[in-house]
């Protein structure tokens, strides 16, 4: 999705946040059963990256894919319908949240295996090089570097010199904050994850995932370099995990995010208040825009109201969509359209 003005960037980030909040509430209301992962706190990364991409480019993501798809322009209603397992979803209810993919947006397949998507993305980048157009962006979390597949994929990318941008969204929990019963975090012997690809001579950078401006500059520069000179590149985005993503199942601490939290109010929970102050890309970006006199609170409230209405429509579409007929279980095993076995 192209970003041409600050209001659009705020809207794009808010669209992801409001979508994820609805996702959490639909899960809590038992509208869907499977485990899921939300992108709250990392919105600036997907928005900055996808703003640089065109129709020839590929994006590969993970189980934490909602933000990447929304930033690429996927329809929130069809995404939410898929998450609810409905016929109106992008895969007719076959993928759910874990494998959300939209081929027409250059997101042809989504692996929910840790590290599973890096080899696939490498192959897509090879295809980009073969046809002489496009690049591939491969998003993954810190734990992907615990998998051998990631190391192998980076070797191949380096040997073949293909246009792939590895984006490691590092939201690991520092060891001193880890508690039993939380959702897992990576346990790597280095805290600077860019060290791993550097050993393979892949150019690397580290950027702050809470700084929307820095991310926008960084992706603009890196994607431009790759379009000129090829790749690969590796970017470590340092994110601080949102408190709602610490539990085994996501929670909304203090309810939905409030625009006022970016201005003169703060939530009751101290851990959330600290996270908003120091690590929320949305709060920090809005404050920067307000301080520069670009957007004020009233204008942000207007943008938020529009986004909330859009996401409410998406939820309604998903809830209204029927479940797939049982016979649909047998379709799409084979591209030939008919059972061959």
């Amino acid at each position: 999705m192209q970003i041409v003005d600050p209001a659009q960037r705020v809207a794009a980030m808010l669209r992801i946040r409001r979508f994820e909040e609805q996702c959490i509430q639909l899960a809590r209301a038992k509208r869907f059963a499977g485990h899921y992962h939300v992108y709250i706190g990392q919105e600036a990364t997907a928005v900055a990256a996808c703003a640089e991409l065109g129709p020839d480019d590929f994006v590969f993501t993970t189980w934490r894919n909602h933000g990447h798809l929304l930033a690429r322009g996927a329809a929130p209603g069809r995404m939410m319908a898929e998450i609810l397992g409905k016929a109106g979803g992008y895969a007719g209810g076959r993928s759910g949240t874990l494998h959300l993919a939209v081929r027409e947006l250059g997101i042809p397949a989504t692996s929910a295996l840790v590290g599973g998507s890096l080899p696939l993305a490498t192959g897509a980048a090879l295809a980009c090089k073969r046809r002489g157009s496009g690049i591939t962006v491969s998003f993954f979390g810190d734990a992907a570097l615990e998998e051998g597949a990631s190391y192998e994929a980076m070797i191949i990318a380096a040997v073949w010199r293909i246009p792939i941008l590895f984006v490691c969204e590092n939201n690991s929990i520092p060891p001193e904050l880890r508690k039993r019963g939380q959702f897992t975090s990576s346990t790597l012997p280095t805290t600077r994850l860019a060290d791993v690809p550097e050993s393979l001579r892949i150019p690397t950078e580290v950027v702050d995932g809470a700084d929307a401006g820095a991310l926008a500059d960084c992706f603009h520069r890196l994607v431009g370099e790759m379009r000129r000179d090829g790749g690969p590149r590796f970017l470590e985005v340092r994110c601080t995990r949102w408190p709602g993503s610490f539990p085994l199942w996501p929670e909304l601490p203090c309810g939905e995010w409030q625009v006022a939290w970016a201005f003169d109010q703060k939530p009751d929970r101290p851990d959330l208040a600290v996270w908003l102050e120091q690590s929320d890309p949305l709060v920090l970006h809005i404050r920067a825009l307000a301080a520069a006199g670009i957007l004020d609170q009233r204008r942000i409230e207007e943008i938020d109201a529009r986004v909330r209405a859009e996401i409410a429509d998406a939820v309604r579409f998903a809830l209204d969509s029927p479940f797939p007929a049982a016979a649909e279980a047998y379709r799409h095993v084979w591209a030939t359209g008919e059972p061959i076995s």
Binding site: R94, A109, P119, G123, A124, A127, E152, A153
Partner: protein, 326 residues
């Protein structure tokens, strides 16, 4: 024209590269440790060098890269080298490639070919002798091709590289390289998914695939010459798709079935064929079926130990005589 199995592979790879610029070779072994066969591939590697990708020993990511290139519009074949190495690539083959079309709700096609030289090949020992096809058969979404003759080495490889729209595992076998067959306009290819009757017979059906096809044909010759038994040899050619109808029709004619397969006995291809005959062919059977398969032990190195476990023509003959009550 008469070609060998290895020539068929090399010819199919060359012609496919020439016919479609989307065909890519990820890895370039294909012929294993056979120097004469390797030389047959040299013209393809020379004439299409820009589409031959040098690979580190990274089977997992190579299988994934082939899959990723396929979903992005190319038609790669990934040489996974030895059949046992399919396990190094297993997550990308069975949990990515096999699932993508379905998980995407039919949005994305995955025309990738995974190639491996599988089987008991002579002192490969336990870690280089696997036949992974039965395990792969438990991953819906993968086509599994098992040529048992030079004609199908050529036809099936060419079909996989140029026409298939689904992920395909092509299981080759080093001990088939010298087998020969006629190809050409007078020898039309049955469609993929249709078994071949390699030899017609009246008394017993021998259901075979891959390396057990020539051994079943040898066995059928011995049965005719020494025992007056007319054996029919069915070459499955692929196990996904599986031509159940031809198997059932053959057994309906002969009333007796021997299944010769190089997978391990338990849960193998032979077990699946036996189950099909039990479910849908019981009325045709005049005697219980027999499986000639590899006992459920790892493959040993020493030649006499390996031979003890191998599916041979002699074992197929003995099984045929047994089902016939001789």
């Amino acid at each position: 024209m008469k070609i060998s199995f290895a020539e068929g592979l090399a010819k199919a790879i060359y012609e496919s590269l020439a016919a479609d610029p989307r065909v890519l070779l990820i890895g370039s072994g294909f012929m294993g440790l056979n120097n004469a066969a390797r030389a047959m591939l040299d013209p393809a590697l020379k004439d299409f060098s820009e589409r031959v990708f040098v690979t580190p020993i990274s089977e997992l990511a190579l299988a994934g890269a082939g899959t990723g290139a396929a979903i992005a519009g190319q038609r790669p074949v990934v040489d996974l080298s030895t059949g046992s190495f399919v396990f190094q690539a297993f997550p990308q083959v069975v949990n990515e490639a096999a699932n993508i079309h379905y998980m995407s709700g039919g949005q994305t096609e995955v025309p990738v070919t995974f190639y491996a030289l599988a089987g008991i090949r002579g002192s490969g020992a336990a870690q280089h002798s696997h036949r992974p096809q039965a395990m792969l058969g438990q991953a819906p979404g993968l086509q599994i091709l098992l040529p048992g003759g030079a004609d199908d080495a050529y036809y099936l490889m060419k079909w996989s590289l140029l026409e298939s729209r689904n992920p395909t595992v092509f299981i080759s076998h080093a001990l088939l390289f010298e087998e020969t067959a006629e190809i050409g306009p007078d020898f039309p290819m049955p469609p993929v998914g249709r078994a071949r009757i390699r030899r017609e017979g009246r008394d017993v059906s021998i259901i075979a695939n891959s390396i057990t096809v020539p051994r079943a044909l040898t066995a059928a010759g011995v049965l005719a010459r020494d025992h007056g038994v007319s054996a029919e040899v069915v070459d499955l050619r692929s196990i996904v798709p599986l031509d159940r109808a031809t198997v059932l029709q053959s057994v309906a004619r002969t009333g007796h079935a021997v299944i010769a397969d190089e997978c391990h006995r338990s849960f193998g291809v032979a077990a699946e064929i036996a189950a099909i005959l039990a479910e849908d062919g019981l009325a045709s059977l005049k005697a219980p079926v027999r499986r000639v398969a590899v006992p459920d032990v790892p493959i040993p190195y020493s030649p006499p130990l390996e031979t003890e476990l191998t599916v041979t023509a002699e074992k197929i003959v003995a099984a045929a005589l047994k089902v016939l009550g001789r």
